[in-house]
Subunit: 105 residues, 2 copies
């Protein structure tokens, strides 16, 4: 009945994996698995929905267009990304899997 | 700008701590910190909202009224509790803090 967020991780992650955990009219909860992927040069996410994201394993760096310093995320770090707040993933750790939970609302 | 879910944990948890991380019309995201607390004898949560909950640290046991076996949760375990699905927390580890994220929607 319960599932584990750290289970069923493929050995190789050639592309980021997005898995829907909960999907309803009002929210979507995703597990995201990365290993070394980042946003393409010049790409910015510009999302119609609010996002709350927590990194549970691994490491990543996010950059916001309106903020000079990038933000380094380690396990347990969470951040609220308001709708249309332009941001990009600058880096994810290539040496281990990075596991995120994202809540879109 | 980011916060850490494992930070700012009091040394003593005489009562469960409920902290709102995100609150909007559509959802509420909470951090819950337990240490040894459980639902009172005979008490069942019967919530008007759906809840998705993940245990990130510690250990707990949840029981559902409509299910004989209790569910033991370890770090990373997550579970969807539909609205009005009666359940109770039978046990949380008294020897360490248990940290949960709950999303109500």
């Amino acid at each position: 009945m319960s599932k584990n967020i750290f289970s069923h991780i493929p050995e190789n992650i050639p592309e980021e994996i997005f898995e829907t955990i909960i999907s309803s009219e009002k929210i979507r909860i995703e597990r995201i698995i990365s290993q070394g992927q980042c946003s393409e040069e010049g790409f910015w996410y510009d999302q119609p929905k609010n996002e709350w994201v927590i990194l549970l394993k691994g490491a990543a760096t996010i950059r916001f267009e309106n903020r000079e310093e990038p933000i380094h995320l380690k396990p347990g770090d969470h951040i609220h990304i308001p709708a249309h707040c332009r941001h990009r993933v600058e880096w994810t750790d290539p040496d281990c899997t990075t596991i995120w939970i994202a809540v879109f609302f």
